[in-house]
Amino acid sequence: MVGPSRPKRDGSEPDLLGEVPQPPRRRLRSALFLLLLLFVLGWALEGAKLRPGELFYGIPEIAMTIGRMLPPDFTKVTDSKSYYFPESLSPSELFLPFPVPEDKARLRQRWWDNTFPQTVVGATVETIQMALAGTFLALVVAFPVGFLAARNTSPHAAIYYGTRLVLNFLRTIPDLALGLVFVAAVGLGAFAGTIALFVHTTTVLGKLLSESVENIDEGVVEAIRATGAGYGQILAFAVLPQILPDVISFTLYRLETNIRAASVLGLIGAGGIGYLMNTSFRTFQYQEASAIVLVLILLVMVVDYASYRLRQLVV
């Protein structure tokens, strides 16, 4: 402990520190606060039904489950049989978008629509498509909404409070709950999942963008307005250039989040790779499930890295 240097005893130096006001002491309040905190924590641990003992005895069980997952079984990914390629179609007829006779075209359509999304690669591609589509649509809507929900660019106070209210309300709904709603509304599949991602991402991006707009340098806005510019011109010349880095980095960040969200949405049948993973676990195909988990991890890592590099480029 290094204390403040004390003045000399003989009084040869004036007691400077004597005049320094001491920080106020709040011992009683701190103690009470700490007690309350401990109480709440204890209450939470109690409610969470933590039983460390069972966890300890369960370790062999966990090890066994992990053991059953090893080694990962990649046959579903690598074996061409699991893709059920239609025998009457050559690979070029199947994969290249050239016109083919009508019966073959129908066969091709059916394979792309129904068979391919059931495969691991197909479901992974679908996950990426869902995340991309959901994020893009969300950006298209959230971009104007962000201006409406920002104090300094909203055309009217009523619009400002209205959009904020709607955004705040919708944002409280988790995307999984939205997924359940849309699965009930439009049926199982990627469409339901994509709308769920779109709605949730719109609320989050709208909020983030509105905050970004509120943080701009107002002096620039005033300078542009003073040149005789109209509302749109002020947005384009003074506001947009200032928020553009945020727009890009928020969107990429949401894309990362949505890849993860899209893979979870499969659990409720809203498309994506999560559905396959769930099926594998439910049917005790642990080795297959672990392969899918690994594919998922790889996917998330690739997207995270790609968006990191993109962000570095722009910002």
């Binding site: 104090r151 300094n152 660019t153 909203s154 055309p155 340098d217 107002e218 002096g219 620039v220 806005v221 005033e222 300078a223 542009i224 307005r225 003073a226 040149t227 005789g228 510019a229 109209g230 509302y231 749109g232 011109q233 002020i234 384009a236 010349f237 003074a238 250039p241 200032q242 553009l244 880095p245």
Partner: protein, 274 residues
């Protein structure tokens, strides 16, 4: 007949006041007339209301009381397109430059054209700059034409101030308002920038109003100096009539209020004055 008399004035202010919030008095009562082509310096302690006055003069802030005529137009009655038309004829140079740091110099300069451009033209210019020759000649006039395609935040403070001047040049207004244009550049540069602005004003017959921190510059370069303190004009004289006693009065007993600027800014944030 009345109209014609009014047209000779650039600015006419009658008991103009501005109150922020409930009690933050930025301007108490300002009366003056500025003729077309006149060069006027405003001096006074910080917090005296000079910046608020300039924001009223360039129509980005409405006065709370009093009347303001610009070129014979009563400003209170103006809205929308006609208000923007008046703003277009007033170019402002700010102490903080107020340029977009991420944009290239040319876009910041060309933003002076916005009052003349359609929305579509403005967007097109952000993609690929229009009227490059105009921006070039303006930058050449302030001596930094080689920076035309540089990002603005890569320039020094003095260079950015020149970009702000070039923006006003392409705006080609009738009035130039310069709010502390030299307080963020070093003293040797300050005189040359004031000189530049005075030359521009004289060559193109523009009215020039300048807020100045430096009393010396104001007295040396301007034929008319207005001293502002606590929101009122303390004096309005030619520099040879301004003596040390007047200046002492102007700057004495003044402690800049700490929260005044904050309130002033908070109120001006919204686009409530479109």
């Amino acid at each position: 007949m009345r109209e014609r008399v009014a047209m000779a004035y650039q600015y006419r202010l009658e008991k103009v006041g501005k109150v922020f919030g409930r009690r933050q008095i930025a301007l108490a009562r300002i009366d003056f007339v500025v003729q077309r082509g006149e060069k006027v310096a405003l001096i006074g302690p910080s917090g005296a209301g000079k910046t608020s006055l300039f924001r009223i003069l360039n129509c980005t802030l409405r006065p709370s009381s009093g009347k303001l005529w610009i070129n014979g137009d009563e400003i209170e009655s103006l809205h929308g397109r006609r208000l923007r038309e008046v703003r277009r004829k007033i170019g402002t140079i700010y102490q903080q430059h107020n340029l977009v740091p991420r944009l290239k110099v040319i876009h910041n300069v060309l933003s002076g054209r916005l009052g003349r451009w359609s929305a579509f033209r403005s967007l097109a210019s952000l993609m690929r700059p229009l009227e490059v020759e105009l921006a070039w000649s303006a930058l050449k006039q302030v001596g930094i034409e080689e920076k035309i395609f540089t990002r603005t935040d890569e320039l020094s403070g003095g260079q950015q101030q020149r970009v702000a001047i070039a923006r006003v040049l392409v705006q080609d207004p009738e009035v130039i308002l310069a709010d502390e244009p030299v307080s963020s550049v070093d003293p040797s540069l300050a005189a040359s920038i004031v000189n530049l602005l005075i030359d521009i004003g004289r060559d193109t017959h523009k009215t020039l109003l300048m807020n100045l921190h430096s009393v010396d510059l104001a007295l040396a370069y301007f034929p008319r100096v207005i001293g502002i303190k606590n929101g009122v004009a303390l004096f309005d004289l030619s520099p040879d009539k301004i003596d040390d006693r007047l200046l002492e009065d102007l700057y004495s007993g003044h402690l800049p209020p700490s929260d005044q600027e904050k309130v002033a800014h908070a109120e001006s944030n919204a686009l409530a004055y479109p």
